[in-house]
């Protein structure tokens, strides 16, 4: 049962997460939906720019070494139409990010869900071109 449920979730996740048809570039050409990543760390920079908004997260490993990840979102226009603003996420915020890793192995990912430390969801919206509404 559990295996079946996981299969269903994988299938549905893939179906929901194939947004290439609405992106400015092919999602599949830059990110691998089969390589989900979850990052927990501190926002070090936010770029509210076209063609994609981006933010950077410093992630510490168990030994204290810091890796900076580059997270891609939809465009500012798409995010704003869905209720997010350039101050929805700020430098210093502690976040958990769910996304898809870049195919080329660099420390880049497409951010799908972003949560603050208190569990509130802030602008999650991949470069697939859309974002969920700001309801938590």
């Amino acid at each position: 049962m559990r295996a079946k449920l996981v299969c269903v979730l994988v299938a549905m996740g893939t179906a929901l997460w194939t947004p290439g048809v609405i992106a400015h570039h092919s999602f599949a050409a830059e990110y691998d939906a089969n390589k989900p990543v979850t990052l927990k760390g501190t926002v070090s920079k936010v770029e509210w720019t076209n063609p994609h908004a981006r933010f950077y997260v410093d992630v510490k490993d168990d030994k204290g070494a810091v890796t900076t990840w580059n997270l891609e979102l939809a465009s500012p226009n798409v995010l704003r139409r869905n209720g997010w603003t350039r101050t929805s996420l700020n430098v210093g915020d502690e976040v958990t990010v769910e996304g898809a890793m870049a195919k080329d192995g660099s420390k880049m990912a497409n951010a799908r869900v972003v949560r603050l430390a208190d569990g509130r969801r802030v602008f999650a919206g991949s470069s697939g071109g859309d974002a969920p509404p700001p309801a938590n």
Partner: protein
């Protein structure tokens, strides 16, 4: 969507740890409609009757979404039809890399490709304008004053367009394209011989059907027809979108375009 979220098996995380889950492991369950597509989001478009301009023609104005190929132009073919691409151009297409896609490099979509951003139709007595928010925050101008195509022109991204009315359908005839843009993400090609005839029919207040005949004897063995539908976005306004502002990551795109 929420139910899926509630069903999700929580992904075990330790504070400060980075977890990379493979496809064989439990993935983070989708908790949002991200990726479902802006064209599917929001209220359904209005379905009331179309309006007419003082000159009697159909009022096509409004902010629209979609109406052309994005991922694969074949999605607009009639059922059973195939893309009549010449073998030598199929080879060229197959060799194209996603990172070369002009649209990903902040260059115009050309015709008939669309992008994921809204666009507006603006009609005057002498011109019809298509104003694009997205790539590349540019416009098409369609001459409605009865003029013909020029005998000589410099090939361009949007070509030279003249329009006329066929009943309640706006017919836009365009030549003079360059060969630089792609029809879609997968790199469907064309040559400078491209000639398009678009037929814009507003079937309801909120629905614009765009049927395009593509005639390019350079890359195709016969003309073919595609149909896409644009949806009205009531109350929407175009916003500024300057693609080149920060497009420094195209080099991360990998792989053949055909694998989109």
């Amino acid at each position: 969507m929420m139910r899926i979220s509630e069903l999700a098996l929580p992904l075990a995380l330790s504070v400060g740890a980075l977890v990379v889950a493979s496809a064989q492991q439990t993935p983070p369950a989708p908790t949002s409609p991200a990726g479902a597509g802006s064209q599917q989001r929001g209220p359904a478009p209005p379905t009331g009757p179309v309006k007419r301009l003082p000159n009697g023609h159909i009022d096509l104005s409004g902010v629209w979404q979609g109406g052309g190929p994005v991922g694969d132009i074949k999605m607009g073919l009639a059922k059973g039809d195939t893309l009549p691409i010449k073998p030598e151009w199929q080879k060229i297409m197959d060799a194209r890399q996603s990172k070369e896609d002009p649209e990903a490099n902040c260059l115009p979509t050309g015709v008939p490709r669309r992008d994921p951003y809204p666009w507006r139709i603006l009609q005057t007595d002498t011109h019809t304008f298509l104003l694009f928010e997205g790539n590349i925050h540019s416009y098409r101008q369609i001459f409605m004053d009865g003029r013909k195509h020029p005998a000589d022109f410099d090939p361009s991204w949007y070509g030279h367009s003249v329009g006329h009315w066929d009943g309640d359908t706006l017919v836009v005839d365009t030549v003079g394209f360059n060969d630089k843009f792609w029809f879609d993400f997968i790199g469907t090609p064309h040559t400078e011989q491209l000639h398009t005839v678009e037929r814009y029919t507003r079937t309801t207040l909120g629905t614009l059907v765009i049927e395009t005949t593509i005639d390019d004897p350079g890359a195709y063995t016969r003309p073919f027809k595609i149909t896409f539908t644009a949806r009205l976005r009531p109350g929407e306004e175009l916003m500024e979108y300057i693609c080149n502002e920060n497009n420094g990551y195209v080099h991360h795109i990998t792989g053949p375009a055909k694998e989109f």
